[in-house]
Symmetry: C2
C-alpha cells in the first residue's frame, strides 16, 4: 500500500472552474484511492459542489481563497497582487509541506512566476522549464521546454536534457532515456550556436542518459528519442503544430466517412477499432505539463480541457510525487556537476 | 494558349536521380503541354532514359554536365568547386534567360548558395527565404521561412511577410492574403524581440495584404491565415513536426483497420472515401518549395519524393513563371518601401 499523497488544487483556474476541477478530482480519486486533495477557492461555490460528489467528500478539504488569477493577468501583476489567490495559496501549500504537489488549469505565466518565487529553482539549475509527454510511433516521448523560456543558450539546453531525462525516467519508467536536441538537420554544422554548443557539451559529458545527437521535427512523432530538448519558442510551436495536424486529420477522416453510404457503413463496422485509435491520440490522456527544475511538483493542466483531461493532469502530479521527482532532479544535477565541469554560468554565479 | 515555358532541370539531384527526374518530367509534360525542359546531367545516362520516354523526347534538350553536387557537400564547397555541376549549370540557364526557372531535388544548402550567387537577391530584400504550401482545414496556406535563415531579425520577418503574400497571391490565387506571425501566444507581450518588433512594423505599415497579428502552432493546420511568417529554425521544425504527426496518424489508422475482421471489412467499404482523404494530405501533392527573394524562379523538390512528387515541384515552377512571380516580388518590394519607411537595415546598406 503506497503512502497517502496530498495534492493542492487551484479550484478556480481554467475555463470551466470550479465545477470541472471537482469533476476531474473525482475521476482521479477513483483512479488513485490513496490521494487526498486540498481545494483552494471560493468556499461558497465549492461547498455545494462537493456535497454533490459522494466519492470526493471524504477525500478533500476546502480552504477559502479570496481572489483568483485571471487568464489575462500578467505574471508580474499576479505576483504582486495575487497573494491571497487560489493559485498562490495552492503553491504555498506545497512550500509549507502540506501538499506533495499542486495542479492548476489557470494562467501559465502566472503559475510559473509564482511557483518560481515561492518554491525556488533547484540549486544548479538556471531556469525551470515546461515538459510534457505525447504519443509516438514507438510509445511515448517527452519534450521540453514548451514555452517557459523563449530564448535559451547552450547551458539552458544542457540543463533541460538533464531534467528531461529525469522526467522520462519518473513519468515513463525508462531506465536510461535517449535524449535528442531538436534542430533543422542532423549534421554537426546545422543549427544555431546554442544547439551546436549544447551538442558539443553533451557529446563529451558523463551522463546518466544516452545523448542521441540532433533530431528533426518529424522525429517528434516518430519517437526517435525518449526526450526532445529545445528552446521554449520552438517547443511550444512544434507541439501545437503537431496538435493542429492531429485535429486536421481527424476532421478530414470524419468528412471521408460521411462521403457515401458505403463509407458510413464502413465507419460503423470499424467503429470499435477507430475508438481505440481515438484513445491513442486523445489529447486529454496527455494533458498535464510538468514544471521541471523547481523544488516541488507543479503541474499545469490545459485551461480548456474536460474532467477526464484534468484527471490526467492530477495523474502526472501523482506520478511525480510517488517517483520523488523533486529529489531525483536535485540528485541528477549534483551528479552532472560532479561528473562534468560545472556549466560556465553556474561557475560564474 | 499560354506562351511556352522552359524549365531547367537538375537531372542528377535527389535520391533516385536521374531516372526519377525524367519520370517526373514526363508526368509534368502531360499536365502542362506548353512546357519544355532543358536537362542538365550525365548525357550518357540521360540519353537512353529519354529514348524510352516517348512523350518526353520531343520536349526536352540534354546538356551534358560533368559533375554533380553530393547530398552532403557543404554549400561553400559546392560554390567553389561545383561550376560544372548539373545543379549550377541549371541555375546558369535561368540567369542567361534560356530557362524561366529551375527545379532541383538536390542538396538544399548548395542550391540556395549557388542560386544566391548566380541570380542575386532582389533589390530591397536582405535574405531570400524558402516557402511552401500545405493543406489546412480552410484550404491551403503557405509558410516561410522553412530553413534558409536560422536566425532572423524583425526586418527579415517583415520582408518574409511581403514575399510570402506575393507567393500566396501567385501560387494560390489569393487577391489579398492574410498574413500571421508565428508566436507562442497571441497577446502583444508574447514572444521574442524579433516577432514583437516585426508585429509593430506590420501593424503600422501600408500593406497590399492584411496583417492578422500573431498566430500559434495550431493555427498552421487550422488555416487561420493564408501566410505564416516565421524564422527558418521554427518554420523548419514546425513543418516537419506536422508531417511527422500526419505519418503517425496514418500509421495508427492503418493499425486500427487491421484490428479485427469487422474493421477490415469496414476499411474495404470506406476505401474510396479514404483514398480521397489520402489525396487531401498527400505530401507529394505539396512537394516543391520555392526560394523566394531571388531574381529568378528556383524550386526545391524533396530529395526522397517519387515521380508524382517531382512533377508537383515542376508545377510550382510553372505557376511561378506563368504568374511572373519574380517581377511581382520586385514590384511589391518597391511598393512597400515607397509606402513605408525603408527598413532600418535597408537604409543603412
Amino acid at each position: 500500500m503506497p503512502a497517502p499523497i496530498t495534492i493542492a488544487l487551484d479550484a478556480m483556474g481554467g475555463d470551466k472552474a470550479p465545477a470541472l476541477v471537482l469533476r476531474g478530482a473525482e475521476i482521479a480519486r477513483v483512479r488513485f484511492p490513496d490521494v487526498h486533495f486540498i481545494l483552494f477557492g471560493d468556499e461558497a461555490k465549492l461547498r455545494p459542489l462537493i456535497a454533490k460528489r459522494r466519492r470526493l467528500k471524504d477525500r478533500c478539504e476546502v480552504r477559502h481563497a479570496e481572489s483568483l488569477i485571471g487568464a489575462t493577468d500578467r505574471p508580474a501583476q499576479a505576483l504582486r497582487r495575487g497573494g491571497q489567490s487560489s493559485m498562490r495559496r495552492a503553491i504555498d501549500a506545497v512550500a509549507e509541506g502540506e501538499a506533495g504537489g499542486v495542479v492548476s488549469a489557470g494562467n501559465t505565466g502566472a503559475l510559473m512566476a509564482m511557483a518560481k518565487h515561492v518554491l525556488k529553482t533547484v540549486r544548479g539549475i538556471h531556469r525551470p522549464a515546461i515538459a510534457s509527454f505525447f504519443p509516438t510511433l514507438r510509445g511515448e516521448s517527452t519534450m521540453l521546454d514548451l514555452g517557459a523560456n523563449i530564448e535559451c543558450d547552450a547551458d539552458n539546453l544542457v540543463e533541460f536534457a538533464v531534467m528531461g531525462a529525469a522526467f522520462a525516467h519518473t513519468a515513463l519508467g525508462i531506465q536510461r532515456p535517449t535524449v535528442g536536441l531538436l534542430n533543422v538537420g542532423v549534421e554537426e554544422v546545422k543549427g544555431n550556436d546554442a544547439v551546436k554548443q549544447a551538442a558539443q557539451i553533451l557529446r563529451r559529458a558523463n551522463l546518466s542518459f544516452d545523448f542521441y545527437g540532433f533530431v528533426e521535427g518529424n522525429d517528434i512523432a516518430a519517437g526517435t528519442v525518449d526526450v526532445i530538448v529545445t528552446d521554449g519558442f520552438t517547443g511550444n510551436v512544434a507541439l501545437k503544430a503537431a496538435e493542429g495536424t492531429a485535429q486536421l486529420y481527424t476532421s478530414f477522416l470524419r468528412a471521408a466517412f460521411r462521403r457515401s453510404w458505403l463509407s458510413k457503413l464502413g465507419y460503423v463496422l470499424a467503429r470499435p477499432a477507430l475508438k481505440a485509435l481515438r484513445e491513442q491520440v486523445d489529447p486529454r490522456v496527455y494533458n498535464g505539463a510538468m514544471f521541471v527544475g523547481l523544488n516541488g511538483v507543479v503541474v499545469k493542466s490545459h485551461g480548456g480541457t474536460d474532467a477526464k483531461g484534468f484527471a490526467s493532469a492530477i495523474g502526472v502530479a501523482v506520478d511525480m510525487i510517488r517517483g520523488r521527482y523533486s529529489d531525483l532532479i536535485v540528485a541528477e544535477c549534483e551528479r552532472f556537476n560532479a561528473a562534468n565541469q560545472p556549466l560556465p554560468q553556474a561557475a560564474a554565479s
